[in-house]
Symmetry: C2
Subunit: 70 residues, 2 copies
DNA sequence: TATTACTGTAATATTTATATTACATGTCAC
DNA sequence: GTGACATGTAATATAAATATTACAGTAATA
């Protein structure tokens, strides 16, 4: 998988987890201390989430960080 | 696992893969287009490798990127 | 001892990730 | 229709990742 596709894949997973938990981008941003705009970009595959960001998201959603690389 | 421990764990894995392949930090740096200094910091747990860096290392060493989060 | 290869480390510069601010659009309830 | 809520998006600013340069130290070896 190329980096471009990885970005999109991560974005889809973040969005999936967020919706699964019935959260708006704004609420999620608040809970994990990041900006709504950045979450939007990550979900749309515009930005690549950092290792630390993935770590924080995984912790919040109670999933293994490896999930983002499935 | 905390972020601190994750850093150290990733560092150990990078170093393990590098030594397993009989590479110096300098050679590895050359092959994956990053600085030797940064590799040194990652291995010692001083810096946290970005998602893109882990992606590139996994690709180079022919391991799954999930390996770094085991 | 002198040389070579390898690594640590610090200071500074650059690039990327992320935040902030602001505005636009769409949806849905009232 | 309008008001609240959700999301996209752009411009600028800040923080973190990474590069560059430079020097020190250790180990091996000729």
């Amino acid at each position: 998988m190329g980096l471009r596709k990885l970005k999109n894949s991560i974005g889809r997973k973040v969005k999936f987890l967020r919706l699964e938990n019935n959260l708006s981008q704004e609420k999620l941003a608040e809970y994990v201390n990041m900006s709504r705009e950045h979450i939007s970009c990550i979900e749309r595959g515009k930005n690549l989430a950092s290792t630390e960001t993935l770590y924080n998201l995984a912790k919040f959603f109670k999933v293994d960080i490896k999930y983002f690389f499935d």
